[in-house]
Every structure is written in C-alpha cells, then in structure tokens.
Symmetry: C2
Subunit: 339 residues, 2 copies
DNA sequence: TTGTAGGCGTTATCAT
DNA sequence: ATGATAACGCCTACAA
C-alpha cells in the first residue's frame, strides 16, 4: 500500500491539509485541541512527510554533492575515503545527507554541471584541489555554494579548509631537532604540487626556527609512490658519509615507507641509525615495522569545519572562510635519539 | 537568476509545456518541425529538467542509500570505504547516485526507517551484515528493495552478494601446500562471526583436499586486531617444537600483521621460517616487510553485481539473487617454500 | 483558528 | 500533432 499523505491525515483528523501542515511545522496558531487530533491521526497512520515534495516546494534538497575522483584508486587512499566518512557524519548534524558520485580525473565539470543544472544538490564539497582547479572555477562562475577541502590558486576568493602542512612539517622538524638531529632531509613532491609546497615551506621554517641552515641537496622532490621514496633516499645516501642525513621527514606515509625500505636494505636500523617521519597516518602505518611516526590530518575537525561553513553558506552568508587546521604529530618508533 | 523551467521553454518555442515534455521524453508523436523549434529553445535557454520535480512525478529518486557504520573507524577499514567507492561508480552506470549516511552501530533502524518513510531513496545497499541482522529484518518486513554485501542467517530469502571466504581460504591453503607446507595453522575470528566461519570452513576444506588432517589446536580463534593476532601466534608457538606450524593463514590482514610481528620478535624469518597469508589486501599490505601474501576481495565485481541485482529489483523483478565471488590470491613475499 | 486555493516543475491523460 | 489540465505531496498567502 502506498504511504499515507497529508491528505490522508487531514481526512483522518477531520481537518484541512493546511492545518496538518501547520501542526507539523509547529506553527503556534493551531488550537491545542486540533493539534492533538492531528497528531493522533499522524500517529495512527504512521505518517511521515514526503521529502521529495518538500524539496520541490522549498527548492532545496538538503543534499551535499561529494565526488570521488577515479584516479589513483590503486594507491593507499585513506585520506579521501576517511574524509568522505567524516563529511557524511558531520552533514547529518545540520540535517543534510551526502550524495556521492565519481568522475574521471580529466574533465570532471560535466558531472558537476549536471548536478547543478538538475538542482539535485544544494552545495558541493570538493577535495583534491589543485591550482587553477576547473571545478572551483566553474562553481564560482555559477555562484553555486561549495566548500573545498584544500587550497587552490592563492588569491582566489572561495571557502576552504585545509590541513596546515606548513605547521605540520615544522612540528615534525621540531620533534627531530628535540631528538638531537641536525642533518634533517626532506622527501617532498614536485614543485607543481600545492600542498607539497606548503610542506616544504614548513620544513624550511622548522629548520630556521632551530637555527639550522637549509641545504638544497637535503631536499629531494619526487612523485607519490613507494618506489620513488626508495629512490629519493638512495639519492640522499649518495652524499658524502659525513653529510648523510640522520633523519628524513617525508611528504607522505607512502613515500616514508619507500625510504624505510631502502634504509633497511642498506642495513640501517630505523629509529636508531635513521629517523623517519611520514604524513597522513595511513591506517596501517601504526603497524609498520617500526611503527611510523607521522602527522595525522584531523579529518574529523576538517569535515566538521567544512560543514559549518557550508551551513553558513546555504543560509546565505557571504563571508569568506579560509581555515587551516594543524595536523597532530603522532610519535611512534620510527623516530629516535640521534646516535 | 533562477533556472528556466519547462514553462519558459514552452513560451520561447511557442508551444505548450506538454509538447516540450514530449520532445524531451522522445515521444515520437511530435512533428519534426516542432521538435526542432523546441530543441532550439531548450538550447537557447540552457534548459535542463529539474530532478526534484521529476522525482515527485515519478515517485522515485534514483538514489540508493548506503550507510557507514560508526563503529571501528579506528581500525583499518579499507574494505568498506573501497566498496563505497565502487558502489558509487557502478550506480552511475544505471543512472543512479548514492546517498550516504552514518549510523551508530547499535540501533541503526531509525536511520533506515527515516529514509524509507520520507521516500528519499529507492533502495538500499547494506554491508557489514550479521546473522539475524535487524536491518535485513526491517527491510524485508517493509518490502523495501535492498541488496546486501554479505550474508546473514542461512535460509533468509534476500538478495546478497558476498566474497567467497570458503573458496578464498581453500585457495590459500592450496598455495601453502604447493610450497610444501603440511603444518598449516589458521588464526580465525570467534565462532559468532559468520564470515569468519566460512573462512574456517574453507581452511578445513583446503586441508581436506590436500589430504591433510585437521588439528583442532592449529585453529586459534581471536578478535580482529593486531594485538590478538600476536597472542594467537604466541599460542601456536607454545606447541611442542615438532608440531609448530610452518605456515599460518589468517582471517584478515590485520591479524596477519600481528602474527608477523610476533614471529619476527621470536627471531623467525618471514617467508622462510614461517609463511603467512592474510585476507583483504589492505592498501598498505603490499608495503609491509615482507610484503604480505593475501586474498583480495574483488570489490569492483561485487559492487557491479550488487548494482545489477538492484536494477533488476527496482524494475520489479522478484527472482532471488545470491552470489558468491571468489577472492583473488595475491602472492607476495610472506609465503615461501617450506624449509 | 481554520480552510481554500495556487504553485513548486514535471508528466500523462484526455480532448481537440 | 498539439494543447488543456489534472495530478505528484507539500507549503503558505489570503480569505473566512
């Protein structure tokens, strides 16, 4: 049998649909007696409002669009997945749900455009942002509400929340310095990576703060993979023995794993001959051998902040929110006193 | 400015909204001349149909509900997250999107009930099923379409797709046997776990097929964690030296990691003194040291199958689909010739 | 305080 | 072949 509608409730309670609506929307103009009659009818019939009809009437869906890029699903991807979870969780706190969709890495716009045009979502949350990100471009152009997890071209006036890679790396360096390390190298991403560049900046700032000079050959830039991490560390090992780093801070856990593998193969004892720090706290990083010291992105906080801003935005606010949230340093076994 | 509606298009083309609708829905009753006029108007105004209105009219949303349980987010959870991704991807192939939501582990029903009652989704995909699963109970009761990733109480007549844990473990054992192992132990989950019991069955079937006897003290049951994996292996090491297993097949990668850690601490060389197999292929498992041999759940296939069944279901089919899909054995370095 | 009625944007039935 | 019109279920001016 089909679900009861407001009409059914109205008939059951002997009132008009308007009255039912008033009761349901807590309009205080209804007499107590009628209200009770209506609520009883609602109860008896097990009536619940149809969301689609409400959506049509209100011209909003209480749905937030969130995309999974189809790229790099072969690599550990816990950050994005975990963020999707926390986003969904936070969204429920403002009475919204998340509509997920996927799109190829090249040419995502049509997928966003369709959702905008068909008015299927009220807003978007985007992640994996890049400089000149076409999605940001498109959404700003459309004046469509969105918040980004991640920054883009500096100066673009859109709402974002991001992990403070700079602060994170600086904290990592500080940790290493406190363990007595002075020859601290970094394995970073290519210069084209925005988040990578913030992390490099943090590395340099960390050195600076400790009064250590920045040495260009201590900074190796490479792609995001285990293999490239190995290679990067091999390059660092090619330095004269006296100049070889005693600690390496990495732009990601995956790269850190590569560094650790290479180090072990060269007979070094991790956390002892060599300290290693990662970034991301991949779920398995705590179970590596040795357990990896790393900088965890506070995805719950980020998601919650994103939703707060979105709520504001949907309500019509026009203030710009741009927020950095510092990662947490999780000290495990891969870092230790300099020997 | 608000989006154009059918009315706007009708005015622009000088026809009625009905005609516009006919054209858009490819009804062949419209004359070529009018069709062209309408399509031009659509083009000029950049008109796209409003999804909510369509939903209301059709009494369907083309949305599939999928829940993330809030439990165990601290443990590696790649299976569920990855499945969510593949589900979203597959759904798009039948023109559906996925609406995600979260719910506490205890008492999930109200969350499902709300979505059913408000008619916000056309169907559900559920995962993390258990025997007597209340969600299955509820949805069957309601006659609401759903497909489960995972089995439940044997005999319950609902649609599901599941990883064939039995076949997977049997294949794992076969691999170990082919390497010359005869003293093969298993670390499994408690008897209450349904998927755990299929995996144990596969372990026993694998032994059987190889003509090896099942020894009760080679089967250790424990919870899903690294620590309990360690303890389980410690228990196996308490056996008399001559009876100690040379290979351990585990119910999950996480447990396998525990086993490997314990083994290493006892001075064993993995893949040499001891072979270890996991289950799940967590993203980082390939980067463990040694890289873990494991059984990968074919989540893309499972998701695709789930969606195919769902499509059938939404179309009104009443056939029961229950499908097992075998995991893939991925041989890495943690298994080797018996010494 | 309650009811009537129009409209949100689309589709489908029935006329013409 | 095309157009009026009545739903789909809800909300809200406005009238009573």
């Amino acid at each position: 049998m089909p679900s009861p509608t407001m009409k059914d409730v109205a008939r059951e309670a002997g009132v008009s649909t308007a009255t039912v609506s008033y009761v349901l929307n807590r309009k205080s103009i209804v007499s107590d007696e009628t209200r009770v009659r209506v609520l009883e009818a609602v109860e008896r019939l097990g009536y619940i409002r149809n969301a689609t009809a409400q959506n049509l009437r209100h011209q909003r869906t209480r749905l937030i669009g969130f995309a999974w890029s189809e790229k790099a699903r072969d690599k550990p991807n816990a950050i994005l997945d975990n963020f999707a979870y926390h986003l969904t969780r936070s969204a429920s706190e403002i009475g919204c749900r998340v509509l997920t969709f996927t799109h190829p890495d090249e040419n995502p716009i049509p997928h966003y455009e369709d959702l905008v045009r068909t008015q299927r979502v009220d807003a978007f949350v985007i992640s994996g942002t890049e400089p000149e990100d076409p999605r940001i471009h498109f959404l700003m152009d459309e004046g469509f509400p969105f918040v980004a997890f991640g920054r883009s071209t500096p100066g673009w006036a859109f709402n974002w929340v991001d992990t403070d890679g700079d602060a994170g790396m600086a904290a990592g360096v500080e940790h290493l310095v406190s363990l007595g390390h002075e020859r601290i190298a970094m394995v970073g991403w290519p210069e084209t990576s925005l988040s990578g560049s913030y992390r490099v900046a943090g590395y340099r700032r960390g050195l600076d703060r400790a009064g250590l000079p920045f040495k260009p050959d201590y900074l190796v830039r490479t792609l995001h993979s285990e293999e490239t991490g190995r290679e990067a560390f091999a390059r660092l090992c090619a330095l004269p023995p006296k100049r070889r780093p005693t600690a390496v801070i990495c732009v990601s856990d995956l790269v850190a794993v590569g560094v650790m593998h290479e180090a072990r193969e060269r007979g070094m004892r991790l956390g002892d001959d060599l300290s290693v720090i990662g970034f991301d706290d991949e779920p398995m990083s705590q179970y590596l051998n040795p357990a990896l010291t790393t900088l965890a992105q506070p995805l719950d906080e980020i998601a919650s902040m994103v939703i707060t801003i979105l709520d504001d935005l949907i309500a019509g606010s026009t203030v710009l929110h741009q927020r950095l949230i510092a990662p947490r340093l999780i000290v495990r076994e891969s870092t230790g006193q300099r020997r």
